[in-house]
Amino acid sequence: MLKKTLRFRSAQISVAILLAVLLLAIFGSALAPQDPLHQSVKDFLQGPSSRHWLGTDYLGRDVLSRLLAGTRTSVTTAAEATLVGLVFGAIPGLLSAFLGTWFDFIANRITDAIMTLPTIVFAIGCTAVLGNSLTPAMLAIGFLSSPLFFRVTRAAALEFVRAQYVESAELFGASRFRIVRVHVLNKVIPTIAVAAAMSASAALLIVSSLTFLGIGVVPPAPTWGGVLASDLSYLNQAPWAPIVPAVLIMLTAGALNALADAIRDASGVHVSLLSAASSKAATEEAAATELTQPGDDADPAFLGANSANPVIDKIDEEAADVNRHSAA
């Protein structure tokens, strides 16, 4: 499947971008020409120069070094959230197809309950209770993304519950665990991979928007979203500054999405499976919109109109909401 995927031009480009990001994540701090935390406040908000290739930030720190050093935090946290979602979503999803109606019923109701929780508000709550650091915030985000994995995996697995070879394996006395491992898992994995790529790109954006809200990352640690947020506050002094972190975030999220598309095309995963998941998200979004008071419209800038990813749309809307409250 990997080979098949890589035949797509979009996949090749995406993988190249993601490999570059991975390299930055591993070696970013070492590559940083200067200490990303070192303040030389006398030279704050300077433009690009031979000493500071991307200029300095509001405390005179080297922006290039901050972006390079911030890659690891940005990427690992996105991975962390995806992994949590995978564990809490995919495993119960797979089991619910095989462990009988009671397990299925309870798991579904729990998932429904999780879906009613608003992502960013929940993340804020978690950081308030567990302390403001990235891991609790990412646990929260990952946990709330688990319904996506649960539904996608369950739907994919259900297809095989009554497949003839599964039934015959059962008649031969194979254990459930063996059936899942041998006959189902590798058929479901492409679907989960697509969901994971989607979820990772969403998580990357959430990490950025959380940093934007001052949640998760404890200053002065750099992240892409943090650099972007601070740049936006000093547009008078450095109008060009937000472009670099914004491009980094867009490229990575775009590459993950393109890769997800390529995996789906290559694996021939039933399109309806994914659309089932995203139509659920769309319903959720519609519900969220209903709850919004008239005249309480979020800033249009936060609502990516016609975005291909309703999950992200919803998250952005919440970000706009939270923004408003923190400004109050």
């Binding site: 406040v41 405390l59 308030a128 002065p220 947020a229 000093y234 706009a320 409250h325």
Partner: protein, 530 residues
């Protein structure tokens, strides 16, 4: 018991304009992301108010909207600015912060200092036509003291009774000597609401104020804007040269600049970082001295801050001028006490350079305190970037590792002021009408901003003494300054003062005559050319 204390004023949490999390208002969330889509009533007054000819300008003021238009239930000290448009208080403050006549033209303390006889201006009327007389004042003071959800109750707790001797004369009786009352009554505590409106619908006052202020509210869209017209019946109406005044809440610095440039607002409260851009765009920059001072609240009940040497070391480790230069783009000045230089009566010049930046001295003090290899301290904030990062870096140079703990802005009041959890918290004060009230908020055992919940006995003594000194006594200023000095330099002092923040108002060149008032912004004498 110091009864003027106030867990009432909502939060004192700084409302300084900052590049990003500029203002942190109270929990009563005023939604302010609002763009000014609906704000299109710019330009001179089409409908002429009944003021003198030429007084038909419209002032559009970018500022926060209040948590409530009812002075009794308003929960943010910051609200006083806008409430002062709709209401007049019993007294007023001059530009230096001294009590002068307001609704009351004069007052006199009884020789024992326990009762004050006020004389109101004649023929006062509320905007609803009700007469503003001594009975109305009595109703208001008792309402402020007794209403269950009153946020000013503790300031009025020492009032035992109000007796009315004639329609313009009343006497406030106190349970103990307190010469600070006239100052206190210049703020929300002394704002007088129409008794007719209180009787009809007290809850409605939150959005429909009925007072006798320089302006009358005509239209209010919470979270967006409030429109006022000139009140021709106000006792000082001849000083108001504006036909209309609108308060518009915008928070984003870029949006504020855009609103200035489009003419949507002609007076805006901006951050230091926006000054050069506003200047370049042709706006006048007015740096109004204010009582906003940034501080670190120190919990001297918790180690290591219980050791005065550690607190002193932190004081020496901080480079305040660098903070002013970077955080406020040079606007404001380093501060070592709760009052700014312009508050001449309370500012103690001997504290002007109390802790000069001296890293070696800080290290030496730490060694003396038993931390020769430095130490780690917590640093709580709700504003995650900026000052707190710079402080952390400055402290590092002296061997102090500050671990930043970011708490949600909405929980600041609860975590810091009520639970008093943090050891060290970045905070700030917006000032109070009465200097003793301010000092008690900061240093008294029940003070909102005193995290240690303790007061050194020598400080308590000077507080009690200050209360008994009449405001017009020749000893008042020296006593107040001695009180400030005692509170600031006492070994268990609970604040590390950082810097003052001026109220930076960018105005269109058409706006003239903006008065520089220390505590609340006033508009007497302001004109807008058409």
């Amino acid at each position: 018991m110091p009864s003027l204390l106030m867990p009432n004023e909502g939060k004192d949490h700084i409302m300084i304009r900052r590049p990003r999390h500029k203002r942190v208002l109270t929990a009563a969330a005023v939604t302010v992301l609002a763009t000014v889509l609906s704000a299109c009533n710019s330009g001179g007054g089409a409908e002429k108010a009944s003021g003198p000819a030429g007084d038909n300008g419209t002032l559009n003021w970018e500022w926060d909207l209040p948590t409530s238009f009812d002075p009794v239930t308003s929960s943010a000290g910051w609200d006083a600015h806008v409430l002062g448009l709709a209401y007049s208080a019993i007294t007023a403050l001059d530009k230096n912060g001294n009590a002068v006549g307001g609704l009351a033209k004069s007052w006199k303390y009884a020789p024992d200092g326990k009762s004050i006889a006020f004389t109101l201006q004649p023929n006062l009327k509320f905007s609803d036509g009700t007469a503003l007389d001594a009975d109305a004042v009595k109703t208001n003071i008792l309402r402020g003291r007794d209403t269950p959800d009153s946020r000013i109750a503790s300031q009025l707790a020492e009032v035992t009774d109000v007796t009315v001797t004639s329609p313009t004369e009343f006497t406030i009786k106190l349970s103990k000597v307190d010469y600070q009352v006239p100052n206190l009554l210049a703020g929300k505590t002394g704002m007088i609401v129409s008794p007719t409106a209180i009787k009809a619908n007290a809850a409605g006052l939150a959005t429909k104020p009925v007072g006798d202020g320089p302006f009358t509210l005509t239209n209010y869209v919470p979270g967006s804007h409030a429109d006022f017209v000139r009140n021709p019946n106000w006792f000082d109406a001849s000083d108001i040269h504006l036909a209309k005044l609108s308060v518009k809440a915008i928070t984003d610095q870029q949006q504020i600049l855009a609103a200035l440039q489009s003419g949507d607002v002609n007076v805006a409260y901006i951050a230091g970082s926006s000054v050069s851009a506003a200047k370049a765009a042709g706006f006048t920059i007015n740096e109004v001295p204010s009582q906003v001072v940034t501080t670190l609240d120190v919990n001297t009940s918790k180690a290591p801050f219980s050791n005065p040497l550690v607190v002193q070391a932190i004081n020496y480790a901080i480079d305040r001028q660098a903070l002013v230069d970077t955080q406020q783009f040079g606007h404001g000045s380093p501060s070592f006490q709760p009052f700014p230089k312009n508050y001449t009566v309370g500012y103690d010049p001997s504290l002007a350079n109390l802790y000069p930046h001296d890293v070696n001295k800080a290290k030496q003090l730490l060694a003396q305190a038993g931390y020769p290899n430095g130490l780690t301290i917590p640093l709580t904030t709700s504003i995650a970037t900026g000052a707190v990062e710079q402080l952390q870096s400055q402290l590092k140079e002296a061997g102090i590792t500050a671990k930043i703990n970011v708490i949600p802005a909405a929980q600041f009041t609860n975590i810091v002021y009520i639970q008093k959890q943090p050891g060290l918290a970045l905070d700030g004060t917006a000032g109070r009408e009465s200097p003793l009230q301010m000092l008690e908020v900061l240093y008294d055992s029940k003070g909102l901003m005193n995290l240690s919940a303790k007061i050194p006995s020598n400080v308590q003594t000077v507080f009690d003494k200050l209360r008994t000194v009449p405001l017009d006594s020749p000893d008042y200023a020296s006593t107040l300054q001695a009180t400030v000095k005692a509170a600031v330099t006492s070994p268990g002092s609970q604040h590390i003062w950082l810097y003052t923040t001026p109220r930076i108002l960018a105005t269109s060149p058409k706006v003239t005559g903006l008065p520089f008032t220390l505590i609340t912004q006033r508009f007497e004498g302001v004109r807008v050319a058409s």
